[in-house]
């Protein structure tokens, strides 16, 4: 059985330009809370991709599944995105089979839509972020509670705005045109941690 990192969070989100603000918000929010976001960006395509995704999930104590992109993809043929629900299914099964080893959360932008799109989960709690970075921070803060250090949403938003301002330079530094690459994901997390540490030390 893979070793579980107690503070790691499997981030199950869509990788598209429209999702970029929420992608940054998840990175900043989780990092502000002292958690380690993990994503499938470094996993190459191919026959074993699903195995590797499952391995990554098994190594994470928590997972956050964002189902806010359930709309049909405009590119022909119009297709719904099934990857996020598929990975949510893996997480639910893993948590059921291994109680106490994994906890999952489902985020949505529209209240009650998930009850319709995945009605088998009726009775479960959903975190509704309203499609805004501020909403993501609020829901992460509600889901993950630190008894000693608990950042406020305005403080998390200041870090988010700071990271957003640095984005063009970070992209140029890594030679990336997209934020959805393994290198950019790592750089964004490390930079968010640096911003958090500086803000914390200035408060002390």
């Amino acid at each position: 059985m893979p070793r579980v990192e107690p503070d790691s969070v499997f981030l199950n989100i869509p990788y598209d330009a429209r999702f970029q603000p929420l992608y940054l918000a998840y990175i900043v929010g989780l990092t502000e809370l002292g958690l380690k976001p993990k994503a499938t960006l470094a996993i190459p395509g191919g026959a074993r991709r699903l195995d590797r995704i499952f391995e990554l999930l098994q190594g994470c104590r928590y997972s956050v599944h964002d189902l806010s992109r359930v709309e049909l993809d405009k590119a022909p043929p119009p297709t719904p995105r099934f990857n996020m629900p598929l990975e949510l299914g893996l997480a639910i099964a893993w948590a059921k089979l291994n109680p106490g080893r994994h906890t999952w959360f489902v985020c949505e932008s529209i209240d009650r839509r998930a009850q319709k799109s995945v009605s088998d989960l009726n009775g479960s709690d959903f975190n509704i972020h309203n499609g805004t970075p501020e909403g993501v921070m609020r829901e992460l803060n509600n889901a993950f509670v630190r008894p000693v250090y608990r950042p406020t949403v305005p403080k998390m938003m200041r870090s988010y705005e700071a990271l957003k301002r640095l984005l063009p330079t970070l992209k140029s530094n890594s030679g990336s045109t997209s934020v959805f690459t393994a290198r950019m994901f790592a750089d964004l997390i490390a930079t968010a941690a640096e911003l958090r540490d500086r803000a914390r030390s200035s408060q002390e």
């Binding site: 107690p6 503070d7 928590y62 509600n142 889901a143 250090y149 958090r196 540490d197």
Partner: protein, 115 residues
């Protein structure tokens, strides 16, 4: 009542986060410069897309990665499965010597394998 979990693990410092991500000290230093606003990109096309963060030498060749670059650092660039089976603290120079292949060849093979 919304579900929530209590997190009791210590908050890792930025350096610990960077280390966990396989980010080298020099790369973290550059990220700090970006936060400070003191980072200035190198002249020319040094950070162009496709060069994997390397630069072109004056003769147009893409610069070679240093032999003491660790495999863990390369994985941050090329993915967690790059050079699978080799320790993350192994040096690129050792891998080159043992396989008889350049980094470019190893990356190409890795990409072909996962295409």
């Amino acid at each position: 009542m919304r579900r929530s979990v209590e997190i009791t693990t210590p908050i890792p410092s930025a350096d610990e986060v960077a280390e966990g991500l396989g980010i080298s000290k020099s790369r973290m230093k550059r990220l700090r410069q970006i936060v400070d606003g003191t980072y200035t990109p190198k002249r020319g096309n040094s950070m162009a897309t496709g060069l994997d963060g390397r630069h072109r030498d004056t003769n147009g060749r893409i610069s070679e990665k240093r032999a003491d670059t660790k495999v863990g650092t390369l994985r941050a660039e090329y993915g967690d499965t790059f050079l699978r089976g080799i320790r993350s603290d192994a040096h690129l120079g050792t891998v080159r010597k043992e396989t008889g292949k350049s980094l470019t060849q190893l990356v190409r093979e890795h990409r072909d394998e996962h295409r």
